[in-house]
Amino acid sequence: MANHVKIALILTTVMVVIGVILAGVYLMTYTPIVKADLNAKFEAIKFVLTDQTTGQLLVNQDEIPKTIDQLNAKIWKSNSSGVLYSNPKLPGYVLSPAYLFKGKDGSNIYVLTGYGIGFGGRVVTVASFIQQSDGKFFENAIDVIDFANETPGLGAKINDPDVRSRFFDIPNSGFKDGIRVNKDADLFPLPSNYKSEIPTYKKEGIVVTSDVMTGATITPRSVANTLNAMYEFLEKEVK
């Protein structure tokens, strides 16, 4: 009995000491972590507010937030739960807050953050949707800001430029029945002329990823689910 108590006391002491040390390191790194996450968000917002064909900003330079106050001024919708919209069937989630920017041409540009479930957990994506003159939404660009639990060399390639670009410039027609990766749309193996057909596939809601992300379907599927949830949210809230 005495031995068991001794062991329990030693284990408790070790855990308490480790806990105190970790708490200290957590407090020390809290501010740098918040800053790093915020910088990643600023960069992602600037990226999705850029026309990926011309490289020009879709908004005036002074519209790009550089501080937390400037970012907060762009909040369009938010709630205290942290989730603005969810579709558990996909599953896809839109996180609070959602931002609204005015384009150079006067159009509304919605910048949303959301996540789907990848191979190792949440895959967080920032995306911009331009509301065109006919009221329909055009998905401009995405930036995947958190894929820390995806497998390096496989799912973690989701934010590589050649993979990410496959999710750019998806018109309203693509979201009619929801976008899907090409494996889920029975477009596999790919035909020999698939590269020239990628814009056509996007109009049909098919995102070709199997050639640039070999051996990883779950991660791009989670991004597709996120974009579908974002589109459903905009359809519900804007129209």
Binding site: L11, I21, L22, V25, P152, T214
Partner: protein
């Protein structure tokens, strides 16, 4: 200075570099080596993180080795290693964000990497703090060297670059080295090369002794 086992500090420090290299000789901790060595930058990040955890956890485990009962030594060792891995994870999140995102789940997984626990059990639990620290440092350097060698090779043959710097044309690129089978191929080839070099050196030594 030699200890009671006749091991000098230099011998302890250098044991993990080649003779007992954790990757090429002991074949330990292969999961992160295979998964993260897709580029030189990732390999450097993972190698340095593992080196830090190995050296510091070995030091602390050696300090507490005499007060920890034998029955609970493994949970305590794992807890100490997990604490240092958590610290490394927090520091990388705050100060090297893009590398932290690239390495992903493999930073927390250093906890279950065989190398830190293996050295804790095999060395730090039986030796003093200074020697244990040197052992962790030496093994960490060996692990860093091995993963860097594999990372540089894979990046060079996949993208034609090293640390992002262009080395040769994409015409020489071998796509398979970036894939999981490519990691096995590269590691296998290096293991074969090192064994061949070791064998040649032993033969030369024997021939030299005979000629004397």
């Amino acid at each position: 200075m030699a200890n009671q086992n006749g091991e000098t500090n230099l011998a302890v420090l250098t044991a993990g570099w080649i003779k007992q290299n954790p990757t090429f000789v002991q074949v330990l901790g292969m999961c992160p080596v295979l998964a993260v060595s897709t580029s030189a930058e990732n390999a450097l990040g993972m190698g340095l993180a593992t080196l830090g955890v190995l050296a510091i956890s070995n030091l602390f485990i050696s300090f507490v080795r005499n007060i920890i009962p034998n029955e609970i030594r493994i949970p305590v060792y794992i807890s100490i290693i997990a604490a240092f891995v958590t610290m490394v994870n927090l520091l990388m999140h705050g100060y090297t964000y893009s590398l932290w995102v690239s390495l992903g789940i493999y930073i927390p997984l250093i906890v279950v990497n065989c190398v830190p626990l293996g050295r804790a059990e095999a060395f730090a639990s039986k030796h003093g703090p200074w020697k244990s620290f040197l052992d962790g440092l030496g093994m960490g350097i060996g692990f860093l060297g091995a993963i860097m060698l594999i990372g540089i090779t894979r990046e060079l043959f996949d993208a034609g670059t090293i640390f992002g710097y262009h080395i040769w044309s994409s015409a020489y690129n071998v796509f398979v080295v970036a894939l999981p089978p490519g990691a096995f191929l590269v590691i296998g080839l290096y293991m074969g090369l090192f064994r061949y070099i070791g064998k040649m050196r032993s033969q030369k030594k024997v021939q030299g002794d005979e000629s004397k």
